[in-house]
């Protein structure tokens, strides 16, 4: 499902202008990462996708729906949003009921809900924790419950706000798997992240925000190669990109294969 944002401006009630005219289109089945310094407007921007915030000026279209003309409850059938802090999202007594809450609310029938829950729990490796209270789990697993409770809603668009914060390498790999699977299913995935290595290894399009505006928007290699511009929004290029640059590689590299490829050609 296509997302079209035109000249989006937003001011908080205290007068702080958080978004200063954002225009962008995200096609169905695109996976996009949003990066930028603390306070750049990343979370403010994605909260416009499901109507949690309404534009001060401009327009946000989710498919053919204008977010200002539909309720948050209605938009929830198209856009799933996983909060940065799982504790702001979880409230049920068991993982199973938590993950069933979304699809049930969207009006899926009993059998459908059951199938969606089963699928979401399998994907997030939570199948053995169905009967557990989410708050008896570590924060690592609560994060996975938050992911599962959105995935089970089977929305065309899924938004993750900082999915890897405080996660170890094993769980980051798990989250990368979830995103890869959603890509296979044709979902639009939008992820806010400060983890630039994770971003570089899992996303092909990157948008860098700065002070409520789009600073860069393009293919991952193009965006991540712009070290000086990224620095203005407090983002460092990924480790391997910086290494390639220091070694005077004639192209921007992000992934291990790319790096080794250039290195071996360089030598021969």
């Amino acid at each position: 499902m296509k997302i079209e944002i035109s000249n989006l401006q937003f001011s908080y009630p205290n007068g702080i202008q958080a978004l200063n005219g954002i225009s962008l289109t995200i096609d169905s089945n695109e996976q996009v990462a949003i990066v930028g310094q603390n306070g750049a407007g990343k979370t403010t921007l994605v909260k416009h996708l499901n109507g949690l915030l309404q534009p001060t000026q401009g327009q946000v279209l989710i498919g053919d729906w204008d977010t200002s003309k539909h309720s948050v409850a209605k938009l929830a059938s198209r856009v799933g949003y996983v909060f940065q802090n799982p504790d702001e999202q979880l409230f049920s007594k068991t993982v199973g009921t938590e993950v069933a809450f979304g699809p049930r609310n969207l009006g899926f029938n009993g059998d459908q809900v059951q199938a969606l829950v089963k699928d979401a729990l399998t994907l997030t490796e939570l199948s053995d924790k169905t009967e557990t209270n989410p708050y008896d789990l570590s924060v690592t697993w609560r994060k996975m419950v938050a992911l599962a409770s959105i995935i089970s809603m089977d929305t065309d668009i899924v938004v993750f706000d900082e999915p890897t914060t405080g996660q170890d390498a094993v769980n980051i790999a798990r989250i990368a798997n979830v995103i890869a699977e959603l890509r296979k299913r044709g979902k639009t995935v939008i992820t806010i992240t400060h983890d630039i290595d994770f971003c570089s290894e899992n996303f092909e399009r990157i948008i860098a925000l700065s002070q409520g505006k789009i600073l860069l928007d393009g293919k991952a290699n193009e965006v991540l190669g712009q070290e000086e511009i990224l620095a203005t929004t407090y983002v460092d290029p990924p480790q391997l990109t910086r290494l390639g640059k220091r070694l005077n590689f004639n192209q921007t590299v992000r992934k291990e294969e790319e790096f080794l490829d250039v290195l071996s050609k360089d030598r021969s």
Binding site: A169, I196, L243
Partner: protein, 283 residues
């Protein structure tokens, strides 16, 4: 001289059967900057709580072995002695902000008020600490109106103003942007150079490698490795046990198998990687 001394420490939270920590023995010298790494659930936060006296004084449970930090011994002390000597910044800054103050400035003075620091000194300390961590412009904001990364800077600053002998930090940069993270690591490094002892839990291996003096790897409540950043962060044991490693180390490990990395030692920092790969290039 050792300012932290743990001997055969084991700990169980109340109402649990399995220990959160066991066989923990290590010393930390004054002014040393030690990073603690480990997968989720390894016991990193529990170790922080133990070093700051929250275990056992706040969490109760069963603590065995010898824990001594800045001359205070866990079994014969109260939490009020700990706060004068050891500062702990929580993993989630939201849990640390008092909720009793309207501005960041007042929030930062809260700890000082509680230990009876004179007014003028309070102001100087708060202003100096805000400058150090780059939050002077937030002084009049409400602590609750800040972004996650800004709240983390406030949480760290609220500990620095207390001028503890030992600084214990539990993932203090988890919500910060990348360059903000690097800046905060720089601040922590400077505190260590001024003689403050720093114990830091972190997943961000690149900055640990560059800034810490020593790394302790925890797994299942026990110490798996303890050594220099280079020794610990290049150990093959890390990947086998679910630890994150830097891309410099992992790419050099593969390059070594391909004959493209000529040194014995694998790199942990960008500079080491540049040096080693340049060697391969210009042969």
């Amino acid at each position: 001289m050792a300012i932290v001394n743990l001997q055969n420490v084991a700990y169980k939270y109340p109402l649990t059967d399995s220990p959160a920590l066991q066989n923990i023995t290590f010393q930390v010298n004054e002014g040393e900057f030690v990073a603690i790494i480990g997968p989720n659930g390894a016991g990193k936060s529990t170790l922080c709580y133990t070093l700051a006296g929250f275990v056992p004084h706040f969490f109760k449970g069963e603590l065995a072995g010898h824990v001594e930090v800045a001359g205070i011994e866990s079994h014969n002390s109260s939490l009020s002695e700990w706060v004068l000597n050891v500062g702990l910044a929580f993993q989630n800054p939201f849990n640390q902000i008092s909720g009793a103050k309207y501005t960041v400035f007042e929030e930062l003075a809260f700890g000082l008020e509680n230990i009876g620091i004179p007014r003028e000194e309070m102001k100087t300390r708060v202003e100096d600490a805000m400058k150090l961590t780059g939050i002077s412009d937030l002084a009049e904001r409400s602590p609750y109106s800040l972004s996650g990364g800004q709240q983390q800077r406030v949480a760290l600053t609220s500990i620095l103003v207390m001028q503890p002998k030992v600084l214990v930090l539990d993932e203090p940069t988890s919500q910060m942007d990348p360059i903000g993270t690097r800046e905060v690591f720089g601040v922590i490094r400077r505190m260590a150079e001024r003689g403050m002892t720093v114990i830091l839990v972190e997943h961000k291996v690149e900055w640990i490698a560059q800034f810490a003096d020593r790394v302790i790897a925890l797994k299942d409540g026990q110490i798996l490795l303890d050594g220099t950043p280079s020794e610990v962060l290049t150990s093959p044991l890390l990947q086998e046990n679910g630890f994150g490693i830097s891309r410099y180390t992992s790419v050099a490990r593969i390059a070594k198998e391909m004959g493209l990395w000529k040194k014995d030692k694998l790199p942990v920092t960008l500079d080491e990687a540049v040096e080693g790969f340049s060697l391969a290039k210009h042969r």
